[in-house]
Amino acid sequence: MERIYLDYAATTPTHPEVVKAMQPYFYDKFGNASSLYSFGQEAKAALEESRQKVADFIGAKPEEIVFTSGGSESNNTALKGVAFALRGKGNRIITSVVEHHAVGEPGKFLAKEGFEIITLPVDSNGLVDPDAVRKALNDKTILVSIMHANNEIGTIQPITEMGRICREKGVLFHTDAVQAVGHLPTMVSELTVDLLSASGHKFYGPKGVGFLYIRRGTKIKPLIQGGDQERRFRAGTENTAGIVGLAKAVEIAAVEMEEEGKKLTQLRDALIKGILKAVPDSRLNGHPAQRLPNNVNISFAYVEGESMLLNLDLEGIAVSTGSACTSSSLEPSSVLLAIGLPAESAHGSIRFTLGKWTTQAHVDRVLDIFPKIVAKLRAMSPLYPGDK
């Protein structure tokens, strides 16, 4: 049975060319970039070349790129780093209810440290209202952090609009662009952001590496101390192989992103249309148009997410769910609740995320199998009122 991977938002396969680019940096060019001799200097050269490539990709200067271990570290650094650097100036941080936990949890941590965290709501499509950002700003506001594109429902926020509001008021603006970088245009001058988080493995790079864009002049404290690496913004021997891989992924994205986006949008829309047509009592979650080219998130009444996920897995199809039953808490996805879904619908949601190696044949196979799975589970659901 051919396995079909439709969880690209969770992680992507590392592109074979990325693996190839990384290969020399494990054994032949293993040096520590901080060392003065040639072993170190070839690692240093690779590091700085990679930094330049990443900077070019988002329209930044190389010295504005700090390599990290990934999206979570970038987000933690942005929030805590700015909060502690600007503590004397104010204590208000504005964020939204649909942020990834890697922003939400640092927010909770900072709330305990005396910061005031304003969590903005979203509309039924998952959009934050830029006007709400404007209204929440006060003279104590030190940071606004709104994600670029949502990992669960794919909704793309009006980042530029919010960025301009913040810039005009002189407030730092961070965006968690983990789901966007490598998939959507993310030029920092266009977005008008001061900080931007990205993760390698979300766009065919390796796991364990990401970056944080820090606009020149932004006041920020490091999260990890103990060395002069990354211009003292991030201590620790650089992950040379990972960083080279990340840069290769960026190079590939620069060439393929646009075409891939078009292809995925078509496949996405075929999958959405096909499922909504074949399965009664189903609804699309997230913005119908302003959404990631690869994201499909649908709720199915009367059935629970994990049981759909397991049935798909038995057919070799890998997806994700917003159901509580696959998390350690009993609460369903907070993002789905935030867009106004009743809890029982949130429990019955499935996320399909497509990627570079997704084909029309994969979509066809899901459309063939999935309605039968839902029908089978509905037949055994005490909530199901029967066929209409």
Binding site: E152, Y302, L310, D313, A318, G322, E344, M380, L383
Partner: protein, 130 residues
Amino acid sequence: MAETPFPYSETVMDHFRNPRNVGVMENPSGVGKVGNPICGDVMELFIKVENNIITDTRFRTFGCGAAIATSSMVTELVKGKSLEEALKISNKAVAEALGGLPPIKMHCSVLAEEALKAAIDDYRKKQTVK
């Protein structure tokens, strides 16, 4: 987004793939319905009782893999048992019969036990009314 599921035992997966005694029973002796859709699981258990013995069972479940498997297992465990014996079946016994459940899924076995008790309760109430 939620993480992928935990490893289920082979028995759990067997009962999930091929649940026993699924469906609605015509003229059941007792019905127990427990759980809440808001919490993500609802179990409905039907029993047929003859001479104090549970002779047949059916169930319908809205819930995760563990919820479906525990419902299926409890319908098998109680068949042929007297009501007194059936009431002694604990959630742990259901979980053990399934080859164990991941800790965070133990509440599913509790739900199965509650559904069974509710069905027996329902039967007994109907008896007193008569």
